[in-house]
Amino acid sequence: MIHIVVCIKQVPDSAQIRVHPVTNTIMRQGVPAIINPYDLFALEEALRIKDKFGGFITVITMGPPQAENALRKAVSFGADDAILVTDRAFAGADTLATSFALASAIRQIEKDMPVDIVFCGKQTIDGDTAQVGPGVAKRLGLELLTYISSIQSVDIDRREIVVQRRSEGGVQVLKTRVPCLITMLEGSNEMRFATMPNMIRAARTTVKRWDRVAAGIEDVTKIGLKGSPTVVSKVFAPSPKTVKAEIITTNRGAPDEIAAALLMKMFGRYPHVREELHKQPV
């Protein structure tokens, strides 16, 4: 039986940030938290492997108490067990500290049930750095396979896996050993709809909570703010461009006139654009 660990993160849903219909300002209030969309591709792939070969899926996240909802949602899709690694000491963690905490927790999980594959989302929509997956792999000594577009075959007995990895202009077909860590490329699959029995199971699930001790972390200098080499020194708003667009209009407002007026103004002020245009084979 294959044991898969899927690392997920609960993030604010930036897609639900709406724009006011009249003033065009961005409204952030009440934006709900969701499972990082990239993680869903990882979870769905894990579920497909479970469908095919049978298996057990543990979902894990490092986060605040409310991240429990994200784990519960993962269970509703079909995951079997959920662990929330939460501790005040994790606050302020950058990707190095996060990968340390997650790797420790996965080592603890391994004590009960050996882990065959670790899945991570490619990156998070709120952090966007794509570094936690590689970090966890390195610490656990797992082969790292990122930007995987499809899993061709899994042979648990021979401990082999063949995958397709997105590269510039094509895909690499890679063969490697299990256990390994995989980050899935977006669009590589489509998350299934949760069934009612799974949703009920999720509503009844008790999510395990591990503090840093339960997660097997002894060295506190490696977690949270202390364990983070990078520090945010300032946050600021981008300076607005002061020059607005020059609006092209003509008396009649006919499209052909406007087009002609645009070309005249543009080529007049930006001759290099005209040159670029004419670089084409005549």
């Binding site: 709120d126 750095t129 794509a130 082969e143 510039e168 890679l174 990078t230 407002g253 499209p255 084409q280």
Partner: protein, 363 residues
Amino acid sequence: MSEETKKPAGKKKFELDPALAEYRGIWVFIEHERGVAHGVSWELLGEGRKLADKLGVQLAGVVMGAPGEDTRRYCQEAFYYGADHCYLIEDPLLKDYRNQPYTKGLTDLVNAYKPEILLLGATTLGRDLAGSVATTLKTGLTADCTELNIDVDIRSLLATRPTFGGSLLCTIQTLNYRPQMATVRPRVMAMPPRDTTRSGGIAEQKLSMIETDIITKVLEFIPDQNTNKINLEYADIIVSGGKGLKKQENFQLIRDLATVLGAEVGATRPLIQSGWVEAGRQVGQTGKTVRPKLYIAAGISGAIQHRVGMDASDVIVAINSDPNAPIFDFATYGIVGNAMTILPALTQAFRDELAARAAAVPA
């Protein structure tokens, strides 16, 4: 310049750990695959040059690959784009990119020659490699930076990147760890001039691994079927469409204009998600960053997520029926009108322009 919102009060003067003082120099990883070097490497050399000059240190390119002419060629190009010298690891094991040998090679180099800053392109390869290297070296890595600067007094790299969904920026420092690592997306930095008079020395290093050490094997490489290769990032003219086009059929007007201009076609994220346009054509925060000479945006509102992907374009022409669309705040020229009538008119006007030029050229 950008405005600050906070300044920490009474901050203790930061002092670099003496053990790290010996880390000197700026390195740029030169990315290449299957005989082609990625343009982002040169863009990073251009940026690295500025940083190196501020710090008064050397700029080096790092090339790893199979033995042969290509690697030497990349070193040469690195000199042309501003490197002072190069580090080179040649080994058959490095023929195709694999995480394990590349991570070992690069980390060994870093441990041997100790750069204070290491830059990589934020491509699939670069991110795969950067994450592993940073974790192995237990150092700080800032991804997808939009701006790089130096605090010379404390020799700190100031890496600026977007945060909170792109509406704000943050500056991140890796104060007491070395090397300070950062990745930058293609086209975020400008391509520097190419000076063929430049040259420099190459320091070679061995990769101390054997094939059986390496667990992952490359079985094959399957090139993309798409004969219509998308080269959005390095295109000089781009025509882009957004939700204001209303219907999928209307996107054809974008393609028509692009054909006449010899331009690449781009789109906003909603159009990709709706399946109107292929994924490789997305311009924006979670898509590609572009910096063409001319960017024509039709039916695009100009929301921040799209804007950050294209506002470095030389000339931006925006077409939108809403006079209050944010895109008119930063475009060069704006046309308030129906894209469905303006686009064909533009297509015709450009066609006429090209025809007039053709007529003027002596046969």
